[in-house]
Amino acid sequence: MSLQPNEIEKIAHLARLAISETDKSVYAENLSSILDLVEQMNAVNTADIVPLAHPLNEPQRLRDDVTSETDQRELLQENSPTVEKGLFLVPKVLE
């Protein structure tokens, strides 16, 4: 299966990645070869195989409902370029 340039653009947009025009064909080739591998696996008959949700074949561990975290705002906001009144500031979004 071979991906077209417009499909690469869409995938890049969904991942919020800016890619150069010249790289597009490289990505198209690499991603297509991954899809080819999937294609190859598709040929195997899996009708009797239960889908595996996780390679570790174990159930999820659960935690008790207790608050164990303390306020780390100052530390956690050290990485943020802009902070005001305890809020992270980001470029304006309006929906």
Partner: protein
């Protein structure tokens, strides 16, 4: 053309846990921004989400309450999209294997008929943070305290045929989650939110019309208004030869209209896949049976009991059981009043609810406790006070301290049954109104009401009305 309206609802109920769904950060409402958002909620590299035990129990409890299938194995998946209040770039949700599937719930319609609404599924997911669009020097402020708060998304089949049915269903779910103690139901704080999928089709046609999704409607009244507006818009558009576009629309309460969400996003492509940080959640029969023992008496059961044991009408029982606190208040009142369920129901749904509404309080904030109201009802029942005086006693109970007995004593409101005293008043009233006495005696019996009024007034409402009637008749005849 006759149109049929088709509605399905997606309800987000915030689960009433102490900590978040995958982290030990607090879920308390109203904290300073970002003081309850830990490294896991922020999706920092190297963190591992671990499922909260209580979240699972609450989801299973809900599933059992709607007679649904509980999945022995359910899987968390990543729903990928970009938005600043979603720090990881994906929301942890459930897609193919939700914890709850195939439930049903009965709603009561206005005409007293019932209808069963099917529930497709209920799945667990985390909430996002909040974007604050006030002006921060042209930027948007992000508070991630809500990020990672546990949600149960409850999805119905498109079984509702009017806005009223949709509201009835939403109210039923709202009542149920509070009965189960899994959600506080607070709509102002966003603990209970609703999206509505709305479409129309010519009556008789089986194929569904194209639907639109109305987002985040945060009151019962707005759900009804928003759906009706959208139905009107769709029918008009189709009748004018247009076609419906599948899209998400917002209801604007101020302008009373729905409009498409402005979005530069391409059509949603969430690229769900199983979250590798989380293993499949497994529950066995023993666990499910253990949770089943925690089911409280549900609204429908309570309603049936009120009708069978307390001889209430279906309507009264429906109203009283809609809210657990109200039902509990009613039952405590009946106990305090030594029975008299019908009288208790009337006072609670009449005076009490009206007074609560007037003062903007809910039943848990009532100035009058069930014990005090029960005391009042006992005095009505044993004729210590008339129904009219009871209303003033009720007002005193609301505004002042003390039991009904103490108030009746303090204010001298006891009903007068001393016939000598009543006769004395009647005599005075007759002396002062000779004209009316003449009229009555010459056959104009309508003036009788005038005398009753005068006597009651002179006794300050304390005379026993039945006695007044009898004595008046005797006196006027002679």
């Amino acid at each position: 053309m006759q149109w049929e309206v088709v509605i399905g609802l997606e309800i987000h109920a915030q689960l009433a846990t102490k900590s978040k769904i995958f982290s030990g950060a607090s879920t308390a409402y109203g904290a300073e921004p970002n003081t309850q958002a830990c490294a896991i909620d922020l999706g920092l590299p190297g963190v591992l989400p671990v499922l909260n035990k209580e979240v699972l129990r609450m989801a299973v409890l809900f599933g059992l309450a709607i007679n649904a299938d509980i999945s022995r194995q359910s899987v968390f998946a990543r729903k990928n999209y970009f938005y600043p209040d979603l720090p990881k770039g994906y929301q942890i949700s459930q897609m193919d294997l939700p914890i709850v599937k195939n439930g049903s719930l009965e709603i009561e319609l206005e005409d007293g008929q019932t209808k069963v609404i099917a529930l497709t599924r209920a799945h667990l997911e985390e909430d996002a943070g909040k974007s604050l669009h006030e002006d921060f020097a042209g930027m948007t402020g992000i508070d991630l305290n809500r990020a990672g708060t546990p949600l149960l998304e409850i999805v119905s089949e498109p079984d509702m045929r009017s806005a009223k049915e949709a509201v009835a269903f939403m109210k039923k779910i709202h009542s149920l989650v509070q009965y189960l103690g899994i959600c506080d139901g607070n709509m102002q704080e966003g603990s209970f939110r609703c999206d509505a999928n709305v479409s129309v089709r010519p009556k008789g046609q089986e194929k569904l019309g194209t639907r639109t999704e109305l987002k985040n409607i945060n009151s019962f009244r707005f759900v009804e208004k928003a759906i009706n507006l959208e139905v009107e818009r769709q029918i008009e558009l189709i009748e004018d030869g247009g076609t419906i576009t599948q899209e998400t629309r917002l209801y604007d309460a101020d302008r009373d209209e729905t409009r498409p969400m402005r979005s530069k996003e391409e059509a949603n492509d969430y690229r769900y896949f199983p979250d590798p940080d989380l293993l499949p959640v497994e529950v066995d029969d023993a666990y499910i049976e253990q949770v089943r023992t925690q089911l409280p008496e549900l609204p429908a059961e309570k309603k049936a009991r009120f009708i069978a044991e307390l001889a209430l009408s279906s309507q009264d029982a429906e109203m009283l059981t809609a809210q657990k606190e109200l039902a509990d208040f009613f039952e405590s009142t009946v106990e305090a009043a030594n029975g008299e369920a019908k009288l208790c129901a009337n006072w609670i749904m009449g005076e009490l609810v009206a007074t609560l509404n007037k003062s903007g309080k809910d039943i848990s904030q009532s100035n009058i406790s069930p014990e005090r109201l029960g005391g009042l009802i006992q005095r009505i029942k044993d004729n210590t006070i008339s129904g009219k005086i009871a209303k003033s006693v009720f007002e005193f109970l609301w505004n002042e301290e003390g039991t009904a007995d103490e108030i009746i004593e303090r204010k001298g409101l006891k009903q007068v049954t001393d016939s000598g005293f009543i006769e004395k008043i009647i005599a005075e009233v007759m002396t002062n109104n000779p004209e009316q006495v003449e009229q009555y005696r010459s056959g104009k019996e309508k003036v009788f009401g005038f005398f009753v009024g005068k006597v009651m007034q002179a006794s300050q409402g304390k005379a026993n009305p039945a006695q007044v009637n009898q004595l008046l008749k005797d006196k006027l005849k002679s």
